[in-house]
Every structure is written in structure tokens, then in C-alpha cells.
């Protein structure tokens, strides 16, 4: 396997809880079905995921912001911050055949690779393990969402900051303060007050 991104995609599948040795052939077939990487500059919108794209995407390098239009705020809101080695999709298009409510923006320069939905369907028919991997990947996203919800319910901003530092150190070290405030669901002012109070800086 020559391509660096293929190794990352394979690692992703091998790290899923549902993965077993006998799924190796299915994993290799999925990896081979991914297209060549697409590179985007920091600040670019990932137009590849514009409607009605139902493909699966893998973030090989860099970080992405997943944003949505928040009816209760004037600016678009950060829904999620995606680290390298993650799969991301248009959920609304893929699950419900609807126009996506979210869009993705490059937080740093990024490299992404896509798996076309038609290729996924072909693989699903050929390898029954593909659906188990799909379910496991989806369940992992849920587990992360569930865990983050606990943080978002914490009443103290400091507790939320501590949660990100301890539970998502990989994100904490790259998030600027504005994005950190959005990730933990507080205003910038509250975040700055929390840092002032403890006398600690972010890093």
C-alpha cells in the first residue's frame, strides 16, 4: 500500500470496535475504492459535499469545522470540530435524502478523500462485513456525541474547558479561543473570564 491516505483509512477501519481479522478483505476493498485525495486551503468551504452528495469522506490531513445555520444566533454555529482520521458525511442527504443543514470548512489546510455512494453500495452487496463496519462507525460517532453532550450540560465554563483538555486533548491543542468557545457552547466573554479567573492560559 503506497498511498499514505490508504494506510490512514485502513487504520480507521481496523480501530472500530466491530473490526475482526476476517473483515480484512472487506476493509482492503473499501480502501481501494476511495478516490484520490482532494486538497483544500485553510478557510475553504468543502464544496465537494454540496447537495445532493451522499458520498463518504475521510479527512486524511488537517482539521475541519462542521457548521450550521443557527436560528437563534446571527452567525453560523460550530456543530463539530473534526480531527484527521475521521469519516464525515452529509447526514441529511445520506440518511433522509434531504438538503444538508450542515457544511464543512477547512480550519487548516486539509486533504480529504471520498468514497462514492455507488461504490459503497457495490461493496455492501459483495462484502456483508461492510454493513457491520458502517454500523460500528456510526455508533462511534454517536458515542462521541453522547459524551460531548455531557460537557455541554456542565454549568461551569471552567468544567467544560477541563473536559476538552482531558477528554479531547487532540482538539484542545489546536483550537483557537474563538473556536474553543463555540465548541464548548459559551460566549467568547465567558471563555475569557474563565481563563482570567484561574490565571491559566489555554496552552
Amino acid at each position: 500500500m503506497n498511498n499514505d491516505f490508504k494506510k490512514s483509512v485502513l487504520q480507521f477501519f481496523q480501530s472500530l470496535p466491530a473490526y475482526t481479522q476476517d473483515m480484512e478483505a472487506a476493509c482492503m476493498a473499501i480502501v481501494d475504492a476511495f478516490e484520490e485525495p482532494v486538497r483544500k486551503k485553510k478557510g475553504d468551504i468543502i464544496t465537494e459535499l454540496s447537495p445532493p452528495n451522499k458520498d463518504f469522506w475521510f479527512l486524511h490531513q488537517g482539521y475541519l469545522k462542521e457548521l450550521y445555520k443557527n436560528k437563534f444566533q446571527s452567525d453560523d454555529t460550530l456543530f463539530n470540530f473534526i480531527p484527521p482520521g475521521s469519516v464525515f458525511v452529509n447526514e441529511d442527504s445520506l440518511f433522509y435524502n434531504q438538503r444538508p443543514q450542515h457544511y464543512f470548512k477547512a480550519y487548516t489546510d486539509v486533504s480529504i478523500v471520498g468514497l462514492k455512494i455507488e461504490n459503497f453500495e457495490t461493496l455492501r452487496i459483495k462484502f456483508p462485513a461492510v454493513i457491520q463496519l458502517y454500523l460500528s462507525g456510526t455508533a462511534e460517532i454517536q458515542r462521541n456525541r453522547r459524551s460531548r453532550l455531557l460537557m455541554l450540560r456542565m454549568q461551569s465554563t471552567q468544567d467544560r474547558i477541563n473536559w476538552v483538555r482531558e477528554q479531547r486533548g487532540d482538539l484542545y491543542k489546536v483550537l483557537d479561543r474563538v473556536t474553543l468557545a463555540q465548541y464548548i457552547g459559551v460566549s467568547r466573554a465567558s471563555l475569557y473570564r474563565a481563563f482570567d479567573k484561574t490565571g491559566k492560559s489555554q496552552y
Binding site: 470496535p17 450550521y68 443557527n70 436560528k71 437563534f72 444566533q73 454555529t77 460550530l78 456543530f79 447526514e91 440518511f95 454493513i131 458502517y134 454500523l135 460500528s136 456510526t138 455508533a139 460517532i141 454517536q142 458515542r143 456525541r145 453522547r146 459524551s147 460531548r148 453532550l149 455531557l150 455541554l152 450540560r153 456542565m154 454549568q155 463555540q182 457552547g185 459559551v186 460566549s187 465567558s190
Partner: protein, 200 residues
């Protein structure tokens, strides 16, 4: 409500995920709907517990439940299950692991349930079964997304408004104490916010 009507409701809910095309698929789905066992659950009783080992898929015919995640000292109310929704412990169904959550009845309920092995046998027998399981997991993922929208609001009032958008009957069904816990605000803040949006 007659049992036949209950089973028709369950069948219809299953059908939304499975969308059978062949007559045999309809028959199999009908059999699956009929294998649900209906019971009444009283307020404060658990639908599943942290110590539960018998995984089940539940369908809420009436009433409401809160799902609590236990990490650290205090259980946190992470979402509600209401009428005509499926409910299940993802830990048990997907990972065959002990649940990290429990589901407590908030309003007396009637619930239809099947053991996980009946569900899994249906999943293994047919493509329709795979569609059902996939659909249930995707729905669960969407519900977590909706809850995240609510929690990302920085004021109590906006959190209530965002929650009402997802669940318009929320204030009529969920007791105020649980609602405050769910929104991550104090009861005093909840009442202040409700007054502000002219609900109380």
C-alpha cells in the same frame, strides 16, 4: 386502545424504516411486530438499568422516559423517549456490553418490547432487517444531533426554544424538574426563561 391497534402502530413504525416491497417481507415484518410484548411501566420504574443484561428493543406506545448517562458522580439526563418512538440501549444492542445509561419512566407509559435476539435474528435473515437496524441507529444519531443543537445555545431561553422546535409537546409531557436537568439549567432559570417567552 385495543391490542390490534397497538400492533398496527408498531407495524407502521417498523415499516417506516424497512419499507417492504415483497409480500413475504410484509409477512415477516408483521410477525416481528406481533412478537412485541406490551406492558405498563409506572413512573420512576426503569426500562433498562445499569445492571441490565437482557438487551431489548422498545417501542413507546404512550408516556415518556428519560435516558440518563452515568459518568462521574451524577447521572445526566441526555435525552427523552416519547410516544411512538423506539428506545434501546446502544451499549447492549450494538456492543453486547453493560449499559452506560439507564432509562427511567417520567410519565406512566405503555411499552412494547422484543428481546435483542429476536431483532438480530430478523436482521440476519433479511436485507429488511439490516435496513431496520441501520435506520434505528441513524435515527438515534439524528436525535443526538438535535440535542446538541439545543445544548449549543448559550442562553436558557434559546435552549428552550430550540428544544420546543424539536419537540413541540415538551412542556406538556416532561415534568419541569427533568426539563431543567435536561437543558442543563437550574429550575429557577427555567421558570425565568419560560416567563420571558410567555409560557408560564
Amino acid at each position: 386502545m385495543s391490542l390490534d391497534k397497538d400492533y398496527a402502530t408498531i407495524f407502521q413504525a417498523l415499516q417506516e424504516y424497512v419499507r417492504p416491497e415483497e409480500e413475504l417481507d410484509y409477512e415477516n415484518l408483521g410477525k416481528l411486530a406481533r412478537s412485541f410484548v406490551i406492558k405498563t411501566v409506572n413512573q420512576d420504574e426503569n426500562l433498562w438499568e445499569l445492571s441490565s443484561s437482557n438487551a431489548q428493543l422498545h417501542f413507546i406506545l404512550s408516556g415518556a422516559f428519560g435516558e440518563y448517562l452515568v459518568q462521574g458522580k451524577n447521572p445526566q439526563l441526555i435525552r427523552f423517549y416519547r410516544k411512538e418512538k423506539f428506545a434501546f440501549s446502544e451499549d447492549m444492542i450494538l456492543y453486547s456490553a453493560r449499559p452506560a445509561t439507564y432509562a427511567k419512566c417520567l410519565v406512566e407509559a405503555r411499552v412494547a418490547s422484543i428481546p435483542a435476539n429476536v431483532l438480530m435474528s430478523y436482521v440476519q435473515r433479511s436485507q429488511e432487517g439490516v435496513k431496520l437496524l441501520t435506520g434505528l441507529i441513524e435515527l438515534s444519531m439524528t436525535e443526538y444531533r438535535n440535542t446538541t443543537y439545543e445544548m449549543l445555545q448559550t442562553s436558557g431561553t434559546d435552549r428552550i426554544n430550540a428544544a420546543l422546535e424539536q419537540f413541540p409537546d415538551l412542556l406538556n409531557i416532561i415534568p419541569r424538574k427533568e426539563l431543567a436537568d435536561y437543558l442543563g439549567i437550574s429550575r429557577a432559570s427555567l421558570f425565568r426563561s419560560l416567563k420571558q417567552i410567555d409560557i408560564e
